[in-house]
Symmetry: C2
Subunit: 321 residues, 2 copies
């Protein structure tokens, strides 16, 4: 078995080719530019690992992994437009560099090319893979819409928030693993189990990401600390704090949101900590991680084949035990 | 055989159902709103007629016709964003009513649902139909990108313009007919011929549309006369005028574009006429129409089955002979 690192390397070699026609370059050059920014390519490799869990990697899994990464990048290009984000990975976003209309169209055409890769797989799995891919694509759009709704909404419940991150983040990981597993020839039960594994892993990962945005080590995390706080994002830390805070803390929190003082991040973090949401977040991440592991253990395959995916799960959640 | 009117009626009955999940309504309600604006549904009915040309309409043709209409509406929602169009068919566009981000996402999800309809057809044609659908979708994006490029470009050649309208308009008509024909069980040669028929018909139709925008009867045409002239669009009338005009006419044309006087449309039309581009446009439309007919005649099928498509072609090009 190859495992995450070797598969990442192989995937990047195959992916770093031209996916688009030459003409008109005003449409396709921006699409290639965005792909050239790089990325960890975790999702397509999850598809390959879901495939390798059951046997040697099949040619169809390579095609679907390409489609997954193109889909992911399509969604990022469009998300960047919606978020008015000027930079991604330190480089100008597509709409920033080429204008919004071109970014919109480059994203559209990238989604079509993703379907083109799917169309390269054999007949026996084509209907099923398109079905899963479409459900996944719809849910990612739904998650992005919910995320936008939250920006304008005064009251976001924890249940709403968890549904949003499930749709926006976890479903793509879950579906990537599941499509790989199905192409590896596994049956319905294993395919459901690996989906649930991926879904809960994705939830734990997103909870961790939100936690690290507030409490992480900026050097290790690689992002500006408290970005979500600055943007008044209704992460679960914020939602839970509203629930736990006493009237004085609530008043201070609302004042900080409205006045945006220079020490806002520091003071909000202090309220978060005083309300105990950091510990609560760690518990929630653990909860999802253990749910993920429970489903993973139940997958009926030789346990030695599970080793690479287990390592990936630990790596994603920065756990060593 | 049912023919255009009966098939239109049947298509609209089937299409006027809900295509989307209920939740989140903030994503799917805007998509349904746009579909509810109506439209002539010419393209999906062309798919059905391409299918009926060879036999009774198959269930697969109905599915693909749904996908075609959803694709067409996806492209309109995104085009409206790019064109900053406030109205379509007299109603607020999606981005105008719900905001740009929601319009972008509603379009995205509509494209995914289009693929969902395609995924309902049988295995034997699935690869082939997706292949044609994807080529078509890419070309429509390419055409829209070229159209946007022209807005900023000083020099647009007639060849560029004709390529753009082929991509933006004709390919969808051509592919709709072709997919229907393939699902009707016809062979490679007929499938190529019907594509060429549709492509040339679409080109004739677009040339007519540009002509009518300038010289049509406003009551019959249903649009504001000279809209393209007001917007300084580089239609073939404009491109050809630049070629035929004498230095005095050229000077006046450039002055009119820069100064936008109240009598601009009237005066530009006068130059168009003086340069003879109205006659030239009629000839070009005829040329494409006869090319379309030549390919249509060559399709190897009983000539009585061709009658409905022939009527449609005449109707689209407002010709009675």
């Amino acid at each position: 078995m190859k495992g995450f690192e070797e598969l990442s390397k192989e995937f990047m070699e195959r992916f770093n080719n031209n996916h688009f026609p030459d003409h008109p370059s005003s449409l396709y050059e921006p699409a290639s530019y965005f792909l050239g920014m790089g990325g960890k390519r975790i999702r397509p490799v999850m598809c390959l690992m879901g495939n390798e869990l059951f046997d040697q990697i099949t040619p169809d899994a390579w095609q679907v992994s390409m489609a997954i990464e193109l889909f992911h990048n399509f969604s990022l290009i469009h998300d960047d437009i919606m978020d008015h984000a000027p930079l991604r990975r330190g480089m100008p976003t597509v709409h920033e560099k080429y204008g919004e209309s071109t970014a919109l169209l480059s994203g559209d055409v990238m989604l079509v090319v993703a379907y083109d890769y799917i169309n390269k797989i054999g007949s026996s799995y084509l209907h099923k893979i398109i079905h899963i891919f479409n459900r996944m694509a719809m849910k990612v759009c739904e998650g992005q819409q919910m995320d936008m709704n939250f920006e304008k909404s005064e009251e976001v419940s924890l249940a709403d928030y968890l549904e949003m991150i499930e749709l926006k983040t976890s479903v793509l990981m879950a579906s990537s693993l599941q499509m790989g597993a199905i192409l590896g020839g596994t049956g319905e039960r294993n395919s459901q189990l690996i989906y649930e594994f991926g879904k809960n892993l994705g939830l734990a990962f997103q909870v961790q990401d939100d936690y690290l945005d507030a409490f992480g080590d900026p050097l290790k995390f690689g992002k500006q600390l408290g970005g979500d706080i600055v943007a008044n994002k209704k992460t679960f830390l914020f939602i839970k704090t509203l629930e736990f805070a006493n009237p004085g803390q609530l008043r201070e929190l609302k004042e900080l949101i409205n006045s945006n003082p220079p020490d806002k991040v520091q003071r909000v973090l202090k309220i978060f900590s005083a309300c105990g949401v950091d510990g609560w977040a760690k518990d929630l991440k653990e909860e999802y991680f253990f749910k993920a592991m429970k489903h993973f253990e139940d997958i009926a395959v030789l346990s030695s084949r599970k080793e690479p995916l287990l390592q990936l799960a630990r790596f994603l959640l920065q756990r060593d035990f």
